[in-house]
């Protein structure tokens, strides 16, 4: 259920909204009545706070608590099970679960390669788009955004047909010149997956970067041009430095998305089973535990661990990249 939400997270995320919430009272403040202002501000925040509690704090709390339990049976194991408090038992099990950490390392390393390529291309496209006429911009903007609009399951299915060892049109064409491409070899698997992800993500990130480009005061370019700077120099020395905040933002969300990778390997392994295992990513393991085994407690504990690790990595990424801005 999180899959679709994940992709839209950059727009609707509570984190993004959270930044705005504390500032709300200031807007309502009027001279002489600070208390009324605060109350009004609070009233304005209520819908958000209620939603935040209902769809965020409570489910997260429930997940953490559920992860502290385990289903216990007796005898033959049939009949109602008892829920037994096991403290950190599930977390200790995860700590020793090599497959979970292998999966996590896999998505982390994969993300470390895929994200810079994807963001680099998105940046390049945004800069190119910034340099062309307004009518062409509209055309390209829509074109690049379409893959993002396609639900990721559908996108993965489209690529599944293209990659299928049985019916791939790419391979049936390549075979005419005596070549068969193994899309799911030890290395090509990552290229295959990476291609799908870049295809899906590039448009959205490009739009964000492009919007940020529009916010840069045009006077800066004029001043640079008067000083004799080339377009390339303007891009490198004015545009890109001014884009740092949006690059940090898109980068951070890409990191989060990468660690929560599920749909694409889940669907593509239907034909790429040789290299994409059932436990290829941590999210797949969580999905299997909950949906196939009915082991919600272990799934909840894994979700908690994944969230914490993701949070830490996102924080580290944010600190590292943000430091550069002030330097």
């Amino acid at each position: 259920m999180a899959i679709e939400a994940d992709r839209r997270r950059p727009v609707t995320t509570p984190e993004a909204a959270r930044g705005a919430a504390p500032r709300a009272p200031r807007f309502g403040r009027r001279p002489g009545s600070p208390r009324t202002g605060a109350t009004k501000g609070l009233l304005f925040s209520v819908p958000y706070i209620v939603g935040f509690l209902a769809v965020y704090v409570i489910p997260v709390g429930y997940t953490i608590v559920r992860g502290l339990y385990r289903q216990q049976r007796s005898g033959l194991g049939f009949g109602p099970a008892r829920s037994v408090f096991v403290g950190l038992g599930n977390f200790v099990k995860i700590f020793h679960d090599g497959l979970f950490w292998t999966g996590l390392l896999r998505v982390a390393l994969f993300g470390a390669v895929e994200i810079p390529i994807m963001l680099g291309l998105a940046l390049l496209l945004a800069l190119l788009l910034d340099g062309i006429t307004a009518r062409a911009v509209r055309l390209f903007r829509v074109g690049y955004l379409i893959p993002y609009v396609v639900p990721s399951v559908v996108a993965a299915l489209i690529w599944l047909y293209l990659y299928s060892p049985e019916v791939s049109p790419i391979n049936s064409t390549a075979r005419h010149v005596g070549v068969t491409i193994d899309f799911f070899g030890p290395v090509t698997t990552y290229l295959t997956l990476g291609n799908v992800l870049v295809w899906e993500q590039i448009g959205f990130n490009m739009i964000l970067i492009y919007s940020a480009l529009q916010a840069i005061p045009r006077e800066l370019y004029e001043a640079a041009r008067i000083d004799g700077a080339s377009e390339r120099r303007i891009a490198w020395s004015i545009k890109i430095p001014n884009l740092r905040p949006v690059l940090v933002f898109t980068g951070m969300f890409s990191v989060i998305n990468a660690l929560q990778l599920l749909t694409e390997p889940f669907v593509l392994r239907l034909v790429g089973w040789k290299s994409i295992s059932k436990d290829f990513t941590p999210m797949q393991m969580i999905y299997n535990a909950a949906s196939a085994e009915g082991n919600y407690e272990y799934a909840a504990a894994m979700s908690t661990v994944l969230a914490v690790v993701t949070g830490i990595l996102a924080f580290v990424f944010y600190r590292l990249t943000n430091r550069k801005v002030t330097a």
Binding site: M1, I3, E4, R70, Q71, Q72, R73, S74, G75, L76, G77, F78, G79, P80, A81, V153, L157, L160, Y161, S164, P165, E166, V167, T263, F266, V267, L270, V271, W273, K274, S277, K278, D279, N288, A290, S291, A292, E293, G294, N295
Partner: protein, 436 residues
């Protein structure tokens, strides 16, 4: 093969289905009234159930059944489990034997032994056993899917093969075939689907979960299991198998184009093949599965049943309906017909009135096809049992399965791992277990 044909669509649909699960599943449990008619809710998948339920309703004004069509697969069963836990589940529901144990292990189905006992003699012993894990009856059999062997008559003739009576003959035939053209394969084992191996173990008389008293003896490395492992290892080492996923859009071409010449299969798949094999229509024949030794007669079978969920307030009426659906002449006949039903092969002891049309004649023109299937249904090995963590076990085996098929992992190594894993898993749940 049995479960994953459905899984093909199911795997993809499942992600979307999760969203649907949030929206609630509707339906309610049966309502108890001191007098007057009761209404039972019934969730099922098989084609034709809706029509049969209507027929039941017309004849039984006092027990009205409200049918809802659902899809059944791994994630769908979890949805049903969640609905039952939340009190929104159905009263009766169609289920596979392997999922029935999962429900039973979660306490989501009712012990109906006292109501169901009187129907036991109608059904075959292995079918009844499959509905009664641990000796407690939770469901009534609806249908069986006895395993048999199908092969391409034109290609077997072309390459000088005879339908194998034993697995040794099968392997020898495969080698002969490879000598003619290394691209040709004897059979397809899908990479997501170890059920072919489960069938081999079942046929050998193996049983991974042996009930002993109030506990389980876990026997992944029994002599029978190792016998099956030996055969599978020879398939892999001899490169006799294709490994196309049922989720691959091109899966049917595997057989239809003639690259893979035979399969072990069952009744419910036949209508699907009949639709999906345009080129090889009429070039198929069936026979009983190859045996471990000449003269033996054993096979495996899937079973579907109709179970009574926790929260159903009218279990007695529910059992009556379930027994009618799987045991009465009219519904059984209608459901067995591939045209009006879904080719559900009855789980009854006497199937003769129902099987005439069970094999699609266009695909399999042979005259004794129904007889072959009936024979197979009577030869199902009774040793097999489904254990309480079968779903978790199967998940684990699915992670090893691709490695086994590609030869990276020996079958015996997988069995050793499974033995260790299942013993540990049962123990951690507090279930009595001994390694055997």
């Amino acid at each position: 093969m049995r479960t994953t044909l459905k899984g093909r669509a199911g795997a993809v649909v499942s992600i979307c289905a999760l969203a649907a699960a949030l929206a609630g599943c509707g339906g309610g449990s049966g309502s108890a009234k001191a007098d007057g008619p009761v209404t039972l809710t019934f969730w099922g998948e098989a084609e034709g159930l809706s029509k049969q339920t209507a027929a039941w309703n017309a004849a039984h004004p006092d027990i009205q059944v409200k049918f809802t069509k659902v899809t059944l697969g791994y994630p769908d069963y979890q949805k049903i489990a969640a609905a039952v836990k939340a009190g929104n589940g159905p009263c009766v529901g169609q289920t596979d034997a392997e999922h029935l144990v999962t429900f039973a292990s979660q306490g989501l189905v009712q012990d109906i032994t006292k109501y169901a006992g009187k129907y036991q003699n109608l059904f075959t012993a292995p079918a009844w056993k499959a509905m009664s894990p641990g000796g407690t009856t939770y469901a009534l059999p609806l249908s069986a899917s006895p395993n048999f062997f199908a092969y391409r008559t034109d290609l077997y003739k072309k390459y000088g093969l005879t339908p194998p009576k034993t697995w040794d003959e099968f392997i020898a035939g495969g080698k002969k075939l490879r000598a003619a053209d290394p691209k040709l394969k004897m059979m397809n084992y899908a990479p997501e689907d170890p059920s072919g191996f489960v069938g081999l173990v079942w046929e050998a008389g193996g049983n991974w979960y042996k009930q002993s008293g109030n506990g389980w003896q876990v026997t992944f490395t029994s002599p029978e299991s190792l016998k099956a492992a030996n055969v599978l290892q020879q398939f892999v080492d001899g490169k006799l198998l294709s490994s196309v996923s049922y989720s691959d859009p091109g899966v049917w071409k595997t057989w239809d184009d003639g690259g893979t010449l035979s399969m072990t299969t069952s009744t419910w798949q036949l209508p699907i093949y009949a639709k999906s094999f345009p080129k090889s229509d009429g070039k198929w024949a069936i026979t009983t599965v190859p045996q471990y030794a000449a003269g033996e007669s054993s096979t495996d079978s899937g079973y579907r049943g109709v179970t009574v969920y926790k929260g159903c307030k009218d279990p007695q009426q529910a059992v009556k309906f379930a027994a009618w659906l799987g045991g009465d002449k009219a519904p059984v006949g209608a459901l067995a017909d591939p045209n009006s039903g879904s080719g559900l092969f009855p789980a009854l002891k006497d199937v003769t009135p129902y099987v005439a049309d069970v094999a699609p004649k266009k695909m399999i023109p042979q005259s004794d096809a129904a007889q072959v299937i009936t024979t197979a249904a009577g030869q199902v090995n009774a040793a097999w049992e489904f254990g309480p963590d079968y779903a978790t076990m199967y998940q684990k085996m699915q992670t090893y399965w691709p490695k086994v098929l590609s030869g990276q992992l020996k079958v015996t190594d997988m069995l050793n791992e499974m033995q260790r894993f299942v013993v540990g898993d049962l123990k951690s749940q507090g279930i009595n277990v001994v390694a055997g």
